[in-house]
Symmetry: C2
Subunit: 431 residues, 2 copies
């Protein structure tokens, strides 16, 4: 970890920078994958599975039987844990389902919004070493609550041609309607354009490597919505003397183990806390199975001492971290100072792992500084809010003249005329 | 208007298509504008003003004095109309400010969301024949309610180097903090990258021509959020025998006058209603100042008779119109069948103009079929919702084991360890 002491404000911008990723060179490759999937559909997906995943597939679709078999392979212990997480995530996301009232802005003018689930959504779950069934819960549960009708899941199979049973168990639990064995940029392409087997969807969610990220960016330009732009995962911890350095170290490392490009930032109002946390990191990292990954991530990471905690929060707002942990017994007093963050963990017992798995909050969050302009995934991400209005004769009489004046001033006479005709009708009806 | 009678389901897809726009050729031009603004800042903007707007500017910034002068130039009649619209739009958007409760998902595990205004937002208002001050209300009012700190407005000056007074009056009313005389793709670029004069913003809102639209698309890939993808404006009217054909015609024309690429669709359950509306269109269009524009738009437009109103709504859901008018005395009975639409106008007195100007709903809406996956602009568009969580010792004890099991199953041992350390501390504290 690079360590800084009371950097000047002018240096903050530099310290808050993320490593830049050259995505331009990806453009061509990923564009060609999308084009191929558009042209050759399922066959392109089967070819890519052989080329990239080293697996010969006869069938992309995961059958009922495979799902039933998988359910039997998941231990009861893991099932119970997933069910507890399911319950908490459901409770929190259900609380986001708020019926908005009908607002009578003027007598006879009623306006309201109605949330309607996006009809067809696609979830992407990467393969690789970690079977991210927790992400299925985070995306599938709000989709289920939103009432999305078609919930498509794409995930690459292992070398044995199978999907991890915990993934299938979680997918079944959240009511995924169709599961396909396909991964990478080609899976995103398939959900964006549709193939004979895989339905086209209106919005695509889920994490992935740089190819997946680029594919999501490109299909967005084709009219498919995506959850949010992506970047490497990150945590910023603000710790004071009331923190527990072992806990802080464990939280920093649970971010660092994600990948060598993970970002870890530690801020404090005193050097001794920084040192204590760094020592604890050194002790703990040595014992981790993913030690090499975590050590690499730590080399990009920074520890900074500021004058006081308010300054730490000010820097954090400029950095706009995906995860922000306030490791202090007085954490709650800083809540109103926080303006840019994806998800905030208050106090010594609120570890990031809690939000990653089971407290109820969503773990799909804006990284890479996007917490300045994007929210994390929530129920809102799976609905459109349609506005409605109903005007009575009295309503249009009350606001009609103002509309006529404004439409005329904007040079839009037909807009004005639509009101004038109605006002005339009402007035004539009265004579 | 092209007229169809009971088209088969297989034909719906074709009928719901929008004319495709070739945006690829724009890419190069708009990219070069963005690059130039990044490199040459204010000077590039001044050069483009001369080149595109034929105006020599000394200053991009609109002074206090120009704003004060403008206020005196707006008629009291127009001021009152704008104030009425301001009040209604404020009322409706304030109703979207809902305090979400703290949810205790499990004893000792508290989760909540807090909306925080996006700190810096940019509004773009096009120039041209119509001074769209109404759009300033639609974007500025929710920004004001959201508590956005910096509210930047860019709009091109007229040939006299000035901005339309109604635009400056509306901008002042909604609390725009800085106004600049610059338009087109270069204005979007300036707000995305920042110049010596114009601050960089985190999210850009507002309508524009194909260059503006392309610039918004390109800066989005640079990390700036945008309100939504754009396309030509459109209305779909579902009319039955209880409609007033003159009103329907006026509503169709108030869409058609926007531009030659505007989309107008009329659906009914009977041919005589379609014919009556078409005759009224012919009569009314002849009297419009923007007749030529409206006539061009009508040539792209369609009128379709279906078996019944439910079928009309089903087609509308597939079309996903920006504006949907149900021109019927029984409009409200169809509300629950509507799944894809930007804004819906129920009954014979709810004309689109009402929502465009003064009823209270927002007029910045998803076009081009994007109502399938995007909402219109609302208060939500100007905030990020940050999630918070606070776990007590009891809380982490209750969910800790489930987290340990799930983290282990995902192969993320440091995630597990962050919980184990805390559980050990609690248990040891008890001994």
């Amino acid at each position: 970890m690079k360590t800084y002491n009371n950097p000047k404000r002018e240096e903050w911008n530099q310290l808050a920078l993320r490593p830049s990723i050259n995505q331009q060179e990806l453009d061509e490759l990923v564009s060609s994958i999308i084009k191929n999937v558009k042209l050759n559909g399922d066959q392109a997906l089967i070819d890519y599975a052989l080329q990239f995943d080293r697996v010969a597939l006869n069938e992309l679709y995961v059958s009922e039987k495979e799902i039933e078999d998988a359910k039997n392979e998941v231990s009861n212990e893991l099932k119970s844990a997933i069910q507890l997480a399911y319950a908490n995530i459901s409770t929190f996301h259900q609380s986001q389902q708020i019926d908005e009232p009908i607002i009578e802005t003027v007598k006879g003018v009623n306006c309201w919004r109605k949330p309607v689930g996006i009809e067809k959504v696609g979830l992407y779950i990467p393969g690789g070493s970690a079977p991210l069934f927790s992400t299925i819960l985070m995306l599938g549960i709000p989709a289920q609550i939103a009432g999305c009708k078609e919930l498509v899941l794409c995930t690459p199979p292992g070398k044995n041609g199978k999907i991890n049973p915990a993934i299938l168990y979680a997918a079944d639990l959240v009511g995924v309607t169709k599961i396909y064995k396909t991964g990478g940029a080609q899976a995103i392409a398939a959900m964006a354009v549709g193939t004979d087997t895989i339905p086209q969807v209106y919005k695509i969610f889920g994490p992935g490597n740089q190819y997946v990220t680029k594919a999501k960016e490109l299909v967005q330009q084709m009219g498919v919505a995506i959850d949010m732009p992506a970047g490497p995962s990150e945590v910023l911890v603000v710790a004071d003397q009331t923190c527990n350095p072992e806990f802080v170290a464990a939280d920093l490392l649970s971010q660092a183990e994600h990948g060598p490009d993970s970002q870890v930032v530690l801020l404090s109002d005193n050097e001794s806390t920084i040192k204590a946390c760094q020592l604890a990191v050194e002790r703990q990292v040595a014992l981790l199975p993913r030690k090499d990954t975590a050590l690499k991530a730590l080399t990009n990471s920074t520890a900074i001492t500021f004058q006081n905690i308010k300054e730490c929060i000010a820097f954090s707002n400029q950095y706009a971290p995906e995860h922000l942990i306030i490791a202090s017994e007085n954490a709650s007093q800083y809540v109103n100072d926080i303006t840019n963050a994806g998800s905030v963990f208050l106090g010594n017992y609120s570890c990031e792992s809690a939000g990653d798995y089971a407290s109820g909050t969503n773990h799909t969050l804006p990284t890479n500084g996007f917490a300045k302009n994007y929210s994390g995934v929530s129920l809102d991400s799976f609905v459109k809010k349609i506005t409605f209005q109903e005007l009575s004769a009295e309503g249009i009489e009350k606001i009609g003249e103002a509309i006529e004046i404004m439409a005329e001033a904007e040079g839009l006479d037909a807009h004005k005329n639509a009101v004038t005709l109605r006002l005339n009708k009402i007035r004539n009806g009265r004579n």
